[in-house]
Symmetry: C2
Subunit: 251 residues, 2 copies
């Protein structure tokens, strides 16, 4: 029995969700609502004490951290439509890219996402309610992020993060100009984990991600969206009235 706790098919939540769809594994999706801080409620912190999605429940065992969950699915179901290469050198290439998105790419995009999407959400509630919510967030850095979002991030931080977004996009474009997929000849977790952050940037970051400046990245985004697994995932979320969320409320 697999249950995936997530915010729906966007940002870090998308990674294990798309992996599950690609592998065709049956699972129960459990969507949490970040707007009401559901991931910081007591019942969920019993599942993940860090109060973060995604989290996978596999027969009662809890796996957290989006990239770790993705590799876990490969370890448990290695032969069901593998998303990890067999060759050790190619696995290492894949991990360089999943590590890079977790350590660099996701953070800069996330800050801009928090400024744009979480800021208004955080300002929509009263100061009293906001402070009450803050008390239940287990990770101090997340509290700082919520406060920054509510007050508006300092201009220098936003500029620095935009610089990193541009560096990230240039890196992806350069790689995809020389290789069909990030880790080499095959579609792998490297693509899924970077797509989780890059998808939708052609709208939210259209100055940087567009057909003129980043044709290979655009083509890659379209190729992944066109895969049956991605189509099914997004269609199902739409039916359940779950809009894809920006790289934002997940860490």
């Amino acid at each position: 029995m697999l249950t995936l706790y997530s915010f729906g098919p966007g940002a870090n939540s998308l990674k294990p969700m798309l992996a599950l769809y690609e592998k065709g594994l049956a699972f129960t999706p459990h969507f949490l609502n970040p707007a009401v801080f559901e991931h910081h409620e007591g019942w969920f912190k019993k599942i993940n004490p860090r109060g973060q999605v995604p989290a996978l429940d596999h027969d009662g065992k809890i796996i957290t951290e989006s990239t770790v969950i993705c590799e876990y699915l490969e370890d448990v179901f290695p032969d069901v439509k593998p998303l990890r290469p067999k060759d050790p050198y190619l696995i290492a290439q894949m991990r360089m890219w999943t590590k890079w998105v977790d350590e660099y790419f996701c953070w800069c995009v996330s800050t801009i996402g928090w400024e744009r999407a979480i800021g208004p959400m955080a300002r929509a509630i009263s100061e009293e309610e906001f402070e009450e919510k803050m008390k239940h967030i287990p990770i101090p850095e997340q509290v700082t992020k919520w406060r920054n979002a509510r007050n508006g991030f300092p201009k220098e931080i936003l500029e620095e993060e935009m610089r990193k977004v541009r560096i990230s996009i240039a890196r992806l474009e350069a790689r995809l100009a020389e290789s069909p997929w990030l880790a080499g000849p095959d579609y792998t977790l490297a693509d899924i984990c970077n797509f989780a952050i890059a998808n939708g940037m052609e709208r939210g970051f259209s100055d940087t991600v567009n057909d003129r400046d980043t044709p290979h990245l655009m083509d890659w985004i379209r190729r992944i969206n066109d895969r049956p697994a991605a189509k099914e995932m997004f269609a199902k979320a739409k039916r359940e009235n779950l809009a894809p969320r920006p790289a934002s409320a997940t860490a």
Copy 2:
């Protein structure tokens, strides 16, 4: 044929080096000198364009990123004294800890290390020479770090990083109070990768890491230092007159 490019047995360089010693794999160590910016010289950037150690050359194939190299060694030599569990749930636990050290623990310790050890090194050379060296560093964030080290990091940054150091140490101590090794019953890459940063903190951060406040962490540091592989690694480095380096010049 395995060649490991590194700064010697400290910080990120230590991770694959200790893994190689633990597995008993023959390899050629190639030590670079960060004091003369050897890792930013042209010959090394042909090996790793990002100008960072460690890097592994395996029969001409280059693997970079310390944690990725460690897992690569498990993928290529899975049966030689394994440092990765067999059970998928335990592998996931291991990866949570190797991910955490790469994304959180290593960065705060590294900043303090740069302030203390790299700062004097950066101030010891003329401005002209310093600026010349900066031109050869491929990663912009590394240039910023060198400039901060030369000028002294702002007080607020150092205080924030020390706060994260204390949180990190408390997390390790809590885990080691309940489990002999970080990922569970066995010594794994989780221990090696965290030891790479924690070893020596009982000297450099003795206010935080000591027998009174963190007895389980101290015991774990000693248990790893007492392992034949660690003894051999440090003894060999000493014979080659290579002092262990702080969590510093590697990223």
